[in-house]
Amino acid sequence: MTIRRGTYDATAFDASPDDVADVVIIGAGPSGAVYAKYLASWGFHVVCLEQGDWVGTAEYTGNRQEYEVSMYGTWHKNGNIRKLPSDYPVDTSEADVIPVMYNAVGGGTIHYGGHFPRMLPSDFRVRTLDGVADDWPLTYEDLAPYYVRTEAEFAVSAMPGDPAYPDGPAAPNPALPINAYGRKLAEGFNALGYSWWPAPNAITQSTIGDLVPCVRYGTCEAGCPNGSKASVDITHWPAALKAGTTLVTGAWVSEVTTNAKGLATGVVFSDRNGVQRRLRTDLVVMAANGIGTPRLLLNSTSAAHPNGLANSSDLVGRNLMLHPTAMAVGVFDEDMTSWRGPAGQNIHSYEFYETDVSRGFVRGAKWLSMPTSGPLVTSDLLAPADRDTRGEELLDHIKRVMGHSVLLVILTEDLPHEDNRVTLDPVATDRHGVPAAKVTYRRDQNNIDMVAWNLRKAEEALHASGARDVILHDVMPDQPGHLLGTARMGTDPETSVTDPFGRAHDVSNLWIADGSLYVTSGGVNPTNTIAALALRGVTELVRRAADQEVAS
């Protein structure tokens, strides 16, 4: 074995063609990090291939004068605009919502807001309770122990006792302050009799591992310049590397190779100079997110897998769910310094999360409040007519809203549809000639009705909170673009891609670890669930390891 341990760039990868890794993980985001840390602790030699790079805390702009401008350019949510060397093109010309991803060590946790809710018990039983979509092959109770461990590893701040959830142990940190704008909103919810609670966040208030206490820059979605938000480059990768993992950056995987029996034998990847390399392995873990994982599986065709790897069900890439999200901006007379973080969610409400058929749709939405921002971003929160003004009139509008407002975000559940999918782009490729991803995603009438109804209720709630004006923003194309459902888990190989733990039905030494596994989307931010599912999956992988069939 000559595969060097530690982290280095793919251009320096010098393993022998005879080397066989125990496990190759594709992607160093949250699910890949959970797998790597756990497997390494059990002695497996893991090689993780990540096409992005490490991002140092000093690269984040949140504590700099130019922070807001960076959100429109180098830190844009849309990789098609940002165009970092690690980004690959995604055709979104037929998508109502744009997928949001970040290719780096840390993956989506670099760019996420640290919102860290669990799914609710009913989310796992949608077919049974509401007669739509499918039940998950596990229950909330099955996942609860893994949520507890995940929340500890992500140094979550939360208040115990949330009435929207079954009781459980306390998080490592108490809840973050709800600030003046959270209190203002909570008073309105109380007036209407709505349930609410200080929201959980993967943002620490104490020194835990390499994380340090939050100082509320409120810039989480462009990376935390203070190192307080739990991104897995801080929370997981140092331990995984210390335990002997190999983490190769700048490694663009194009294909998972298989043998005549259909077992995975290795991967093909290119370094940033285009030099193609091969690596043999006993086991492959896909952790490239809900777009990248189906893209690579579909690109990995062979005689044994003519429609792509693990795709005998024809479900790889299908049932994409993206959490369409709308927003109501409440503008108040009082100055609440509402750009103060963390951001981070502030308070949340599950008042309209469960199905009530009298509303005209099934399932529902989570409401969450967030801080606003400085003047440039505030200019985009204005009503369209105000945004189109110029000069003093525009600046007066900005001054009226900035610091005086609260964002009430409506994160909705979108039901799975097979036509909402990821396919290989017939024309566009990445920098190494691998077909790009094409995303087809249309919101259904249930979701359109759900958003419209919730916006009306949010407007009422903000007025009840004392808002002078309410500005409604219908579904925002780049918010949040969670990547879910494209290699769903289940018990039946005809209606699912993996078993209830993430092992592919068709390929016994191929595991899927990321949000692709989702059966239904729920209406909550997914990172906690993705990480908990990964922890549950890798625990099972280790339990079965002695009987694991391998190609070599």
Binding site: G56, Q65, R125, T128, S195, R390, G391, E392, L395, D396
Partner: protein
């Protein structure tokens, strides 16, 4: 931990020619004509340091912005921008972000708007409890659990 080199920042620098710079100021003057309350657009960023920061962050828009500034120089600014907004909204928004971003990043404009910028604000002992007192959560607690129990799988 020895990390490999980072390639994130490698890209062509984004600067403006003198003609593009002059046109940028004309664009800025169209979006932000002088008034009486806020600093004049040509009075901020006198040393160009803010523009430099803004351009670096808008590197993904370099070609779009440079092309638009070159084109705008040949037209009446108001007419040009109105047509651009109709025909190429993405390019229009890039120009808007450039000039508003430059202006709204200037400290004297922040002062006029009442914005302090991003400052570290450590969480004080007892602060979280203070925002919840007295008894802000009591109605929620009185109502009790709201989740829907499920048959176990």
């Amino acid at each position: 931990m020895n990390m490999p080199p980072n390639y994130r920042g490698v890209s062509e620098p984004f600067t403006l020619t003198s003609n593009q710079h002059a046109t940028m100021l004309d664009v800025a003057a169209w979006f932000l004509p002088d008034g009486s309350t806020f600093p004049p657009v040509d009075a901020v960023d006198s040393d160009g340091s803010i523009l430099e920061l803004v351009l670096q962050e808008l590197r993904p828009w370099r070609r779009t912005i440079q092309s638009c500034l070159d084109s705008a120089a040949e037209h009446d600014m108001g007419s040009y921008l109105q047509v651009l907004q109709q025909d190429d909204l993405e390019a229009y928004e890039a120009l808007r972000t450039l000039v508003l971003g430059r202006y709204l990043t200037a400290p004297e404009v922040w002062a006029a708007l009442g914005y302090t910028g991003r400052r570290p604000s450590p969480i004080g002992v007892g602060e979280a409890e203070r925002w919840l007192s007295p008894d802000l959560l009591q109605p929620v607690l009185d109502r009790g659990k709201i989740y829907r129990p499920t048959p176990s799988g």
